[in-house]
Amino acid sequence: MNDEFFIQLAFSAAAVGALIALAAWAKIAKPVAPLDEYKARAMLAEEFPGRTVEAVWIASDGCGALAKSGALALVICRVGDGFAARQIPWGQAVSATFKNGRLSVNLGDIAAPTAVISLPSWPPQDLAA
């Protein structure tokens, strides 16, 4: 690695910074409408084909959803202008930390460590077991 390499790297880093700023200025992310029950169920069907959804909780800000499917919890959370989906044991979802109206669900995945879902209350009394 010589001086030429580091100069080139510095210019490249500056260009990267400028391009990120340009992308932020342009505001051309995908339009993402907040999730409602219909959209959440459609997304759950797409992400977890074959799974029967017994109940679904939609985040109050529309940025996520959590559904019960047998012994599993199906979780959808907003990432940028897209979504990530994971399934975890239902018991893990029930025991997730709920504080100040925010449910922090440990997804147990290095690529998607936590989902934060805004809910009025948690866990649901009738399905907690």
Binding site: F5, V16, A23, G50, V79, I110
Partner: protein
Amino acid sequence: MIKPEFDPVALATPFFILTIILEIVLARFRKADARYEAKDTAVSLAMGLGSSVAGVITAGVVFAATIWVYEHRLFTIPMTAIWAWVLIFLLEDLTYYWFHRLSHERRFWWVAHVNHHSSQHYNLSTALRQTWTGGVAGTWALWLPLAFFGFPPAMIAIQKGISLVYQYWIHTEAIRRMPRWFEAIFNTPSHHRVHHARNPVYLDRNYAGILIVWDRLFGTFQAELDAEPCRYGLVKNLGTFNILRVAFHEWIATFQDVVRHPRYALGYIFGPPGWSHDGSRETSAMIKARALSPAGAAGSDRSPAGPRESHA
């Protein structure tokens, strides 16, 4: 003959920057179809920058190995002959096809290649979202037979660079279709959109570098369908923009699988992405079979978004 007189990728870097600016500005004024999200763009470009640094670190080993193999070559192919450039164009592109197919169909190489597919966007910045660990995964060894055959290392490096530069411009939604004759022979934005899509019908298709004819020849071609718009990213999309998680998540996931199930280590390392010893996860082939079966998705007990698989 040993070191290339020019580097196509370095020469093309200003072109990369200018065309990304152009794509963003045209999209901003609704003159082109492109979507950029700032954090996603930041990750893609940071991966590209990091990849160039990682490439320098491993370049010595790759260079030394190539030189050693070239010193034991079968023939001496002149760099000045046109036929030699035609031949290396075809052979390098064929090598790229198999490198790319291997990188999707075997987890040990997927762990390095997954980074290129982890964006939910498909734009010119996605082209620069490159792995940091390609040198470690050792896929560069697939190009050594070219040196053994007798192509000078500089010629191989230049042709690899030309292929990389060619593949840059096809990462866009701004170009819908090229002329029919072009789509028949060359890899295009349409063909490569299919490759980056996570729709079951599109999984593990269109591995081509420059010539799409390899996919047609080896049965991995899939045309972009108007009725099936591409959804980009991984079967299990990333839930974070943390650059270290983006760069290393599949390496860590593989390591965790091996530690948890040492008896099945070879399967977890060299099996297809999504393979599991108990069948609790799905590979691309399983996802495709389920989605395309008459029963469709019904009745599956497996995890379509199982613990680890993240194949696109």
